[in-house]
């Protein structure tokens, strides 16, 4: 039995074109939805610690989307450097300063225009962006990137070391 990829569904007077999704596309949609849900959980949580945990989950799911399409270098950079280093420090900081007050840290005066902006932006993107994701990433691109941008990579590593050294010096100067 051969399953048809495109199916026309009749709804009121419209003929809607429904495309059967493969496993990767379905997983992408589920992961996008999960990332949005955990970001809302980070917003609505009263406790800073749980808010930081939900934020880490959001970033890990975003990294997972890259892993789903086999863009492993970006997955490693987000998961290990961004969530592993900065996210872990944020969670530790949030565990120390759990909450300022018992009330929810959400300003409803800003929530209404934000919700309207989300609706308008979401609808316009969904209505006008109709491109499929074409998988093109492979190992050769990483090799080319490293050979072409070796100076850039070295520059970033030295920049990070210099940044950390100046932070340590700054904190030690303030401590004395």
């Amino acid at each position: 039995m051969v399953l048809e990829r495109v199916k026309i569904v009749r709804f009121i007077n419209l003929n809607l074109r429904c495309e059967r999704m493969d496993m990767v596309t379905s997983s992408l949609l589920v992961m996008c939805g999960f990332a949005v849900l955990t970001s809302f959980a980070a917003l609505l949580s009263r406790d800073n610690f749980y808010s930081a945990l939900y934020m880490s989950i959001t970033l890990l799911v975003i990294a997972g989307i890259y892993a789903l399409y086999n863009v492993q270098p970006v997955f490693i950079l987000i998961a290990f450097i961004f969530v592993g280093a900065v996210g872990a420090v944020t969670v530790a900081l949030a565990a120390t300063y759990r909450q300022i007050g018992p009330q929810l840290n959400l300003d409803y005066a800003w929530a209404i225009p934000t919700a309207i902006t989300i609706l308008v932006l979401g609808f316009s993107i969904y209505a006008y962006v109709n491109y499929d994701i074409i998988y093109t990433f492979n190992d050769r691109i990483v090799a080319n990137f490293i050979s072409d941008y070796i100076v850039l990579v070295l520059f970033f590593i030295s920049l990070s070391i210099l940044l950390m050294m100046s932070v340590v010096k700054f904190i030690r100067r303030e401590a004395t």
Binding site: T25, L28, L29, A35, V36, S39, F40, A42, L43, N48, S51, A52, M55, T58, L59, I62, I65, Y66, Y69, V71, V74, L77, I81, F82, V86, T90, L93, A94, Y97, I100, N105, D107, A109, T114, T117, I118, L121, I125, Y126, V129, Y131, D132, I133, I134, Y135, T136, F137, I141, V142, F145, Y149, L152, V153, F156, L159, S160, L163, V167, I171, E174
Partner: protein, 101 residues
């Protein structure tokens, strides 16, 4: 399908903005900034599906991750110093001027 990724990215970015505007302490402000950077990483994803731009997309992703990571580390260090000086993480200690809704 790119639309779904971009919509999710826009929603996470605006949730980050809302969190930053509503935050009463600096830790929550830091969390909102990280959410915004997460939205930027998600918005970069469609670039990887254009064959001519894949190497450039990887370069932009590396640049974004390194600079945002460095920026957040500096911010965390400044929070530690602020806590040493004022014994508080409330945004009231550092806000100056501005307008109210």
């Amino acid at each position: 399908m790119i639309a779904a990724v971009l919509v999710a990215s826009a929603v996470i970015l605006l949730v980050g903005y809302l969190m930053a505007m509503s935050s009463k302490d600096l830790v929550r402000l830091l969390i909102s900034l990280e959410l915004m950077f997460g939205a930027v990483f998600l918005a970069l994803f469609p670039l990887f599906s254009i064959p001519e731009l894949t190497a450039i997309a990887l370069g932009i992703a590396v640049l974004t991750i390194f600079t945002s990571g460095g920026e957040l580390m500096i911010l965390i260090a400044s929070f530690v110093v602020l806590d040493k000086q004022t014994r508080s993480m409330s945004t009231d200690n550092i806000t100056a001027g501005g307008d109210e809704v």
